[in-house]
């Protein structure tokens, strides 16, 4: 290949990548722009691609006319309790499946795994009926407890813990440690990479949860951020300014979590990749 040809290819690739990057960044830019523009500018036609006037009115509106504070608290409380609780429960179950001997261990595990094949959507209507019959609708209970154990989480942790040498646990047992102490002092610290990844996935998933909250909560104070923001869209109009301001606020925890756990996220994605 001649050097002119190489330079031409290089330029082509650069142009394509810049176009792709612009395409990806534009929606984020639009969100930012809309969040800080007055209502009139957000619905102007033709649209303004550059800010004309900047304002914090949309944020003020969110706090005065919508219960965004409450939505945030709800989202955060549920996402945090589900993450903490499910990490503990999935870790205990994954540890048991990986390292403990009990009758029909494999059979039970495969039965659990087969649950992954049933799409969640299929179970929604029966679950709705059950929750209503138990008078649990519109409670934190129904938002948290069903997610405290997940087959996927158990599977991920089991795969990871299987790579721990048995001798470590046996050494601790001979050293005089109880099963709980072994779990707390040996297993949990060594499982940090997988717990970090699973915790991040769980938190993000819970934070972005829309359908479950939409279905099982009805009162205004039981909304999370996502449902709350969706409620800013009416049949004939959408309050784009406040909606985008809210979306911007809702993205902040995600960005924080992502940067804090970036390393364990990448490690978590490759767990089991070598062992098949």
């Amino acid at each position: 290949m001649s050097s002119t040809e190489r330079r031409a290819r290089h330029a082509g690739a650069t142009v394509a990548l810049v176009a792709w990057a612009a395409l990806s960044v534009f929606p984020l830019y639009w969100m930012l722009l809309t969040a800080f523009s007055p209502q009139a500018d957000t619905v102007a036609f033709p649209p303004h691609f550059f800010p004309r006037r900047l304002t914090l009115d949309n944020f003020a509106w969110l706090f005065s006319h919508a219960a965004i504070g409450r939505w945030f608290v709800n989202s955060l409380a549920v996402a945090a309790s589900v993450t903490a609780g499910s990490l503990l429960i999935n870790a205990m179950a994954g540890y048991a499946f990986a390292k403990m001997r009990f009758p029909h261990r494999e059979l039970v595990f495969w039965m659990l795994l087969s649950l992954l094949m049933v799409p969640e959507i299929v179970m929604l209507i029966p679950l709705y009926v059950v929750v209503n019959d138990l008078w649990l609708s519109d409670t934190f209970f129904v938002l948290i407890v069903p997610f405290l154990a997940s087959v996927w989480g158990i599977f991920l942790i089991k795969q990871f813990l299987q790579t721990l040498p048995d001798a470590l646990l046996e050494a601790a047992r001979i050293d005089g440690a109880s099963e709980w102490l072994i779990f707390r002092k040996i297993v949990l610290p060594l499982a940090k990479p997988v717990l970090g990844a699973l915790g991040t996935f769980t938190f993000v998933g819970q934070w972005n949860s829309l359908l479950w909250w939409l279905l099982f909560t009805s009162s205004a104070e039981m909304r999370n951020v996502q449902v709350g923001l969706a409620s800013l869209r009416f049949q004939y109009a959408t309050l784009y300014g406040p909606l985008m301001a809210g979306a911007l606020l809702a993205a902040i925890p995600m960005i924080v979590v992502f940067f804090a756990f970036q390393r364990s996220l990448v490690r978590g994605l490759t767990i089991g990749a070598l062992k098949g």
Binding site: P165, L168, E170, A171, A172, R173, I174, S178, L181
Partner: protein, 332 residues
């Protein structure tokens, strides 16, 4: 251990008899070595003593107490694993202190106990390091230190030197013997290496196929093997086993045979010489007698027989051990 058996496997027809009716007695303060080829059941025996496995039959008694149903942590033994099994996320200090903390020993006591043990195994300069920052030999010392820190009734060592290179292995072997002499604690040591067994053991138990082949002092096993397995396993090179033509095997140690002229009166039978290895302090003469390969030991300056030549083998009758060719058992 009295009549201990252990089998692995789910069904009655498909199983492995790892340990088969084994009785062993290790006296207090002794260093007993369990030795045998891989798969002979020696590690299973150690795990049975540690309480990591439960016997299917028989009794395990430690210090006069039957411990079959006693949990590992209450048996007051410590184990050193083949791969060391150091807790990777803890410093050397925390590794050694873990067992003491689990047993709720007072913090001030833990500190002095850890430092004493670290001193004994020579790792006191490494207390803040993580296991992955240590060399193989250092890890082994930490594992030993972790085992001895709470002064258990017995140490169980599972091939502790097998992951080290030959030089380090020889040095740590001496250190282990020295440690045992100083501490005077009962040790049960598992290895597949007969040299390690001979140099370390006060008493040696030779195992094969889950059964005890012979137990005794290193000297007794060497001089007086009970069967052809022990004769062929103990000693390097091992005992030569030459058929006498009457359904018996003549067991002769390499150093019990002399090279003489084939026609001389001393020659008990003929052999054809092969190559000679010169090891500095001795020569090993490979030869073939009655279609059986044999190895003889000669002093370094003696003239070895020419390869391909025929020579006579001389030996004194008391040096011969006779075995039944069919059963492999010693004929006394």
């Amino acid at each position: 251990m009295r009549g201990v058996s252990k089998r692995y496997g789910e069904t009655r027809s498909a199983f492995v008899q790892a340990v088969d009716d084994v009785s062993i007695d290790v006296s207090q303060g002794q260093l007993a070595v369990l030795v045998g080829p891989s798969g002979c059941g020696k590690t299973t025996l150690l795990r049975l003593i540690a309480g990591l496995e439960k016997p299917d039959a028989g009794d395990i008694v430690i210090d006069g107490r039957r411990v079959n149903d006693v949990e590992s942590k209450d048996r007051d033994v410590a184990m050193v694993f083949q791969d060391y099994a150091l807790y990777p996320h803890m410093s050397v200090y925390d590794n050694m202190a873990f067992g003491l903390r689990a047993r709720r020993v007072a913090r001030s006591e833990i500190d002095s106990m850890v430092r004493t043990a670290a001193e004994t195994v020579g790792v006191n300069a490494l207390l803040e390091r993580r296991p992955r920052e240590l060399s193989g030999g250092q890890r082994q010392r930490v594992a030993l230190g972790r085992a001895m820190v709470r002064s258990p009734k017995a140490f169980l060592l599972d091939e502790p030197l097998s992951n080290l290179d030959a030089q380090l292995r020889a040095r740590l072997r001496i250190e282990l013997a020295e440690l045992h002499r100083r501490l005077g604690t009962t040790m049960v040591y598992v290895t597949h290496d007969q040299t390690e067994a001979m140099t370390l053991g006060d008493s040696i138990v030779v195992l094969s196929d889950g059964k005890v082949q012979q137990a005794g002092s290193p000297g007794a096993l060497y001089d007086d093997p009970d069967n052809v397995f022990v004769a062929g396993f103990i000693g390097s090179p091992p005992m030569n086993l030459i058929p006498d033509g009457n359904g018996r095997l003549l067991g002769l140690r390499p150093e019990a045979m002399g090279v003489v002229d084939a026609r001389s009166a001393e020659a008990r039978f003929e052999a054809i010489a092969g190559v000679t290895e010169h090891l500095g302090f001795e020569r090993l003469v490979h030869a073939s007698a009655r279609a059986t390969p044999i190895i003889m030991r000669m002093p370094p300056h003696a003239q070895p027989p020419q390869p391909g030549s025929t020579f006579g083998i001389a030996f004194a009758d008391p040096a011969v051990a006779r075995f039944d060719e069919g059963t492999g058992k010693r004929i006394r």
